[in-house]
């Protein structure tokens, strides 16, 4: 029983390492395609973290939507657009490196010192419902019905808008 706990803990460290290494690859790699690969790896690690937070449903949704759909869309965008040569050789700039590092470390330290380490987060005394998919579905149908409908309208608008935007230039080229 104890051994299983340690194996689970080691797997947790592995997922955290996947997340950070993917993020590092996405922001430091020289080619855009490698950056997209790093994004996919990092999102896979975050999916594993969702599993440790007790939600297998969100793990599957993260892999389906993010790794499966968003990353493929970005790969299509990389391949469809003609990347200029100077961008294709070197994707990230070193111009404001010190400024960026300073801003990021300041933000992290401000977040960490001011909020995370000082605040005592008190758990709720009594809980309603559970983490099951059935409870999520009932909440989506009854309590959050308006938000659910709104997000479907947003997705429809995004589809129509992206089709209209992307086919705008084609007619000029034909004529």
């Amino acid at each position: 029983m104890i051994v299983y706990k340690y194996i689970a803990e080691a797997l947790f460290y592995a997922f955290v390492a996947l997340t950070f290494m993917g993020g590092f690859m996405a922001i430091r790699s020289r080619l855009l395609m490698h950056a997209v690969l790093g994004l996919a790896i990092s999102l896979f690690g975050v999916a594993g973290l969702y599993f440790y937070l007790g939600s297998p449903f969100l793990t599957m949704m993260q892999i389906l939507i993010y790794v499966g759909a968003v990353c493929i869309i970005i790969v299509l965008g990389v391949m469809l657009g003609n990347t200029p040569d100077q961008l294709a050789i070197k994707n990230v700039t070193r111009k404001n490196l010190l400024l960026a590092l300073l801003a990021c470390s300041t933000g992290f330290i401000a977040l960490f010192v001011a909020t995370i380490s000082r605040t005592e987060f008190i758990p709720a005394t009594h809980k309603v419902g559970d983490m099951s998919i059935r409870f999520i579905g009932e909440s989506l149908l009854f309590q959050y019905c308006l938000a659910f409908e709104l997000i479907s309208v947003i997705l429809l608008t995004a589809i129509i808008g992206s089709i209209i935007l992307a086919r705008g230039g084609r007619e000029e080229k034909v004529s």
């Binding site: 999102l43 938000a147 230039g169």
Partner: protein, 105 residues
Amino acid sequence: MMISANLNTYLIISAILLVIGLYGMVQHRSLIGMLISSEFILNGAALNFMAFNRFVAPNPAVGQIYTLFIMGIAAAEAAIVISIIITVYRKFNSEDPEQLHDMKL
């Protein structure tokens, strides 16, 4: 106490994801790189929601539903941004953000 059953661990991980996104947003030279960085920022926010949902919140469905909505918004945003980038490629023949001072197409 196991480190994977601690709220602060997840908060620090999501803060690092946010910082990775900020750094990439400054350092990338292309619009697609900035889109990738914005996905990191959104993921940090979603992980934060899930961590509070697991350890603090009274209703465990709320955080999962919020995270699902963040995923839907991110998918819509990625689709629109990619189509805008393709349009910018056609008009300007570049995707360098420094050349796009005015947003006239």
